[in-house]
């Protein structure tokens, strides 16, 4: 019952992605990151090896795996680079998963096969310039008019929304008022290139520089009524479910980054000398690395445990929030310590730890801030 060994096929997948990250991502990502370029080549290769289809059934063009398989792949990618990991994470768990979960047969048939191969990316538009944590306060509207949804409003910070291969954005919008007076929020599929849908230029970001993040605006943007995703008025609830799962995936990304800091530090302290000794011989450095390993290890157990509950079909809201919180803090702490261990070189963009440092902070913000995770955990405890 209490067995954390990976099954043979999970381990084979983990190893394959580890090799992929080492051989295909590590050599090129520094350059792409520096130039703020989306990693099209890497995405195409990840697509060919089926990573975008990992948790989806074969009948939809997927790999017949599960969400945990996706998490393992994310962890291994993030050990080397987070922009690539988040492109996969957002593509699968925010882009494709809602369509798979809530889409009609037609919607699934139209989108899933090409999304599972990474040829087409989907994005998920919930956050607005006026607020993300309180997503229920959103202002984007969609009104039904002669068989079409007419969208108006703005979405902020949307991952994968402006690439050459973005096929659609699932947009959360207010579609009316419920009987109890609250907003009726629904999800609507807006294909890329729909008139009235504009994608801004890329944000200038602190980190995740090879990932695509944009502001989206909708001005009388019309899509067919059939583009409603799931039930009318269930949009918000659906998004929340998507986010619960996504938190486990983000936790896996954080663990990867935290472990990547350990990997890089171990290599460096065996080479760098100061005061006549390898810096790895000093206890102050050893203890830092021991603590870093402990954080990565704890966070991994937390996301494994949350994923196990999810796969068993049990409630996992609290566990997912714990995993996301622990892991993003582990990533942040490890990135700070790894940068410290690298000294001046740690502050240089040419070393991966510099990139890890810049990429760690967003993990405490995206897909629910650390404060939001604590709110969720407290709520689950009945507070």
């Amino acid at each position: 019952m209490l067995d954390f060994r990976l099954d043979e096929e999970y381990e084979a997948l983990r190893k394959t992605v580890e090799e992929f990250a080492r051989d295909e991502v590590a050599p090129v990502i520094g350059d792409l990151y520096e130039r703020n370029e989306f990693p099209y080549g890497i995405v195409a290769k990840m697509g060919r090896m089926g990573l975008f289809g990992l948790p989806f059934p074969e009948e939809h063009g997927g790999m017949g795996g599960d969400y945990f398989a996706l998490c393992l792949a994310l962890e291994e990618l993030a050990r080397v680079d987070s922009s690539v990991a988040i492109t996969l994470e957002a593509g699968v768990s925010l882009g494709t998963m809602p369509l798979f979960r809530f889409g009609t047969d037609e919607q699934r048939a139209q989108w899933l096969p090409r999304m599972c191969t990474g040829e087409v990316l989907g994005a998920f538009g919930l956050t607005e310039p006026g607020g993300g944590s309180d997503a229920g306060a959103m202002r984007t509207t969609a009104r039904l008019e002669d068989g079409h949804w007419v969208l108006n409003g703005t979405k902020a910070f949307i991952t994968n929304s402006g690439t050459d291969i973005t096929g659609l954005v699932t947009v959360a919008a207010v579609t009316g008022t419920k009987e109890n007076g609250r907003k009726e929020i629904s999800a609507i599929i807006v294909p890329a290139g729909t008139p009235g849908f504009t994608v801004s230029k890329k944000y200038s970001k602190v980190g995740w520089n090879a990932s695509d993040t944009r502001e989206l605006s909708f001005a009388d943007c019309r899509v067919p009524e059939a583009n409603l995703l799931g039930e009318r008025g269930r949009g918000y609830a659906q998004f929340l479910q998507t986010l619960d799962e996504g938190r486990i995936a983000i936790a896996a990304v954080g663990v990867g980054l935290a472990q990547g800091c350990v990997d890089e530090s171990l290599r460096y302290v065996g080479e760098r000398e100061a005061f006549g000794h390898k810096i790895g011989e000093y206890q102050a450095i050893k203890f830092k690395i021991a603590d870093m390993e402990v954080r990565a290890y704890n966070a991994r157990l937390a996301y494994y445990a949350a994923a196990a509950k999810m796969l068993r079909g049990e409630p996992f809201k609290k566990e997912a929030a714990i995993a996301k919180l622990v892991s993003s803090e582990a990533a942040m702490d490890n990135a700070r310590e790894a940068t410290q261990i690298f000294g001046g070189y740690g502050f240089m963009n040419e070393y991966p730890v510099g990139r890890f440092y810049r990429d760690a902070k967003i993990l405490e913000i995206g897909e629910g801030t650390s404060e939001v995770q604590r709110m969720l955990i407290a709520r689950e405890l009945g507070l």
Binding site: E9, A12, L13, T16, E19, F20, K45, R48, G50
Partner: protein, 260 residues
Amino acid sequence: MNIVVLVKQVPDTWSERKLTDADHTLDRESADAVLDEINERAVEEALLLKEAHGGEVTVIAMGPGRATDAIRKALSMGADKAVHVSDDALHGSDVIATAKVLAKAIGTVEGFDLVIAGNEATDGRAGAIPAILAEILGLPQVTQLRKVTVEGTTVKGERETEEGVAHLEASLPAIVSVTEKINEPRYPSFKGIMAAKKKPVTTLTVADLGVDAGEVGLGGAWSGVIEASPKPPRSAGQRIDDEGVGGSKIAEYLVGQKLI
């Protein structure tokens, strides 16, 4: 098309590789073992040919028990089935013995059209197995190819040399060996990994193949590795700061080394 791919498990070039002190055979415990990269390319080429012409891909590996990992990887990439020759008597076999055993193993695959091998294994680096196999099996060999195509009952290939490119062909069945220029091997997908668990792997001993155990292994080897010493570590380079005379300093150095 019925294709056989010869795959060898070798120590990972990413880890430290060494020979055992006792008998100068490979120290298989000291390094991670992986499917040789050149053999990943051989498998990839077989899969491409299968995708173009249909048929079946069988991988054959001779190696200790844990060579099943290398076999599993080839099956995850998409090969259909495997033959694993595993026998303690094989420890320390030289190239001749290895080729004899592989020839027998190939014989168990009914109606094969093409055998694909790597041009040279990254550990032994004999680069001789394909040629010896061709001799034993009495088949044409087209080696060191950067491109392979099959048209009807003919296999055509391109071999790149310093001087240019040679275009070669042979009639099937034949043996080809491929170089690292042949293709970029695919990464196994999760679907492939799952499917590999159900694919048939036949494990055979030398006795099963009708080979005399005395002809193989260290005892039966016609050649042996006498000694092996690690490469001396590269000495630190000499650093020259360019203060306007860097070019002439480099020239002085090269003259000192009698290089110019």
